[in-house]
């Protein structure tokens, strides 16, 4: 599965990076986020566009797994 790292970026950039990556990745995507606001925003965006979102905490970051 394709993975993008949005660490260091603040909103809306992680959501825009996710949006662009989803266009080319088709079925699934892993998104690394490093702040709560981005975690919420990427999750909300992914759910609104029909993906289910899994979230695993890893140190000070989260790995969101987006699947159709």
């Amino acid at each position: 599965m394709k993975r993008i790292d949005t660490s260091g970026y603040s909103c809306p950039e992680p959501v825009l990076m996710t949006k662009r990556a989803l266009k080319s990745s088709g079925q699934g995507l892993e998104v690394i986020v490093d702040n709560v606001a981005s975690r919420e925003n990427v999750t909300r965006f992914a759910q609104a566009t029909g993906y289910s979102v899994g979230c695993v905490s890893e140190g000070s970051r989260w790995i969101l797994t987006l699947t159709k």
Binding site: G8, Y9, S10, C11, P12, N35, A37, A48, S60
Partner: protein
């Protein structure tokens, strides 16, 4: 849904706080305008010498500290730095000047609309146009770049500064300047102002309230969550104004406002465009600064410096209208934002 409820509540809290603060002495339809109050704070430190807009506004200190305390308590305090601080300072200064040409930040624009100030309709139109321009450059690949983690002391810097300023305000006010007439002399009791700032700061941190972000998410992502806060502030303020008899529809004779529609609009184009480049409106910058974001702290300093410049160079409007300098600055700042956007996009595409 939870997010939306939180934003609804924050909007209502801002509306209530603004009403109470004006009732107890703050300038009309101002509540706690971020651009105006940062300008007042800059004046209080002697960074500009317009004698009628100088006061170390406790609301501003409270907003930063409220966000600081709640983010420490909830583990969301994340010290970070390094995302184009100089550009952020300059864009922040530009946003402040644009706001002072219109006479209000996005928060005050909504309060003015809800009080029947039709001049603010042109402000809203400009704000939306500015945000649309910002969304366009974001889509083209504009970014101020990633931040990196930094130390907790650096992340707390601006919050510690606000505590020091508050101690000076109560223990050694002789060091500061205080307006004796004009908007700067109109102020709610100190601890009431601080309390309202703290409450709104904490809630805005939890809810991520942002006036520019609301329209941005709607345009870019078709997501209406964030705009709930703006709508809630407008509706609750409108109801409060209708009930209290404060709703006075019209263009003329509005509190701290002017009637030059073109410059009301263009001033807010600056604010909308700049806020999108910065990732959030002036209120959001205060909240992020409290959360440990040093880039937003630098933006806040830029907003304050812009407020001081607006008065030192006679760019700020007054009830009698805009100034020649203010009109020229508005156009030049828009050109500056467009140039920065274009250069950043080109340089990022080349490095890819």
């Amino acid at each position: 849904m939870n997010n939306r409820l939180m934003l609804l509540f924050t909007g209502a809290l801002v509306a209530g706080a603004a009403f109470v603060l004006v009732l107890f002495g703050n300038p009309g339809n101002m509540g706690f305008c971020i651009a105006c109050f940062l300008r007042d704070a800059a004046g209080s430190l002697g960074l500009h010498s317009s004698a009628n807009v100088q006061y170390m506004r406790p609301e501003i200190l409270g907003l930063i500290l409220g966000s600081f305390v709640i983010s420490l308590a909830s583990g969301e305090f994340r010290p970070r730095t390094g995302s184009s601080p100089v550009l952020r300072f300059l864009i922040g200064a530009g946003v402040s000047i644009g706001a002072l040409v219109f006479l209000g930040c996005p928060l005050r624009m909504v309060l003015r609309l809800a009080a029947g100030d039709f001049n603010a309709l042109f402000g809203l139109l400009g704000f939306v146009i500015g945000i649309a321009a910002g969304c366009l450059v974001l889509n083209l690949g504009f970014s101020l770049g990633p931040a990196r983690q930094t130390g907790r002391i650096e992340g707390s810097g601006i919050s510690i500064l606000t505590i020091i300023l508050f101690i000076i305000l109560i223990a050694a006010p002789g060091l500061l300047r205080f307006s004796t007439e004009g908007p700067g002399s109109m102020r709610a009791p100190l601890f009431l102002s601080l309390a309202m700032g703290l409450a709104v700061g904490a809630m805005a941190q939890k809810s991520r309230m942002c006036f520019a972000g609301g329209f941005r998410d709607l345009f870019l992502l078709r997501d209406s969550t964030l705009i709930t806060g703006l709508v809630s502030l407008f509706v609750i303020s409108l109801v409060i104004n209708l009930v209290s008899g404060n709703f006075k529809p019209g263009f003329e004779g509005q509190s701290v406002a002017h009637t030059q529609w073109l410059w009301n609009m263009l001033g807010m184009v600056v604010v909308g465009f700049g806020s999108i480049l910065l990732g959030g409106c002036p209120l959001r910058q205060l909240i992020l600064a409290g959360e440990g974001n040093s880039d937003s702290a630098v933006t806040v300093l830029g907003l304050a410096a812009g407020g001081a410049m607006a008065h030192n160079f006679n760019l700020a409007s007054s009830t009698s209208g805009t100034t020649a300098g203010g009109r020229a600055a508005t156009v030049l700042i828009l050109l500056f934002f467009a140039l920065v956007s274009a250069l950043v996009i080109v340089s990022r595409r080349r490095s890819e």
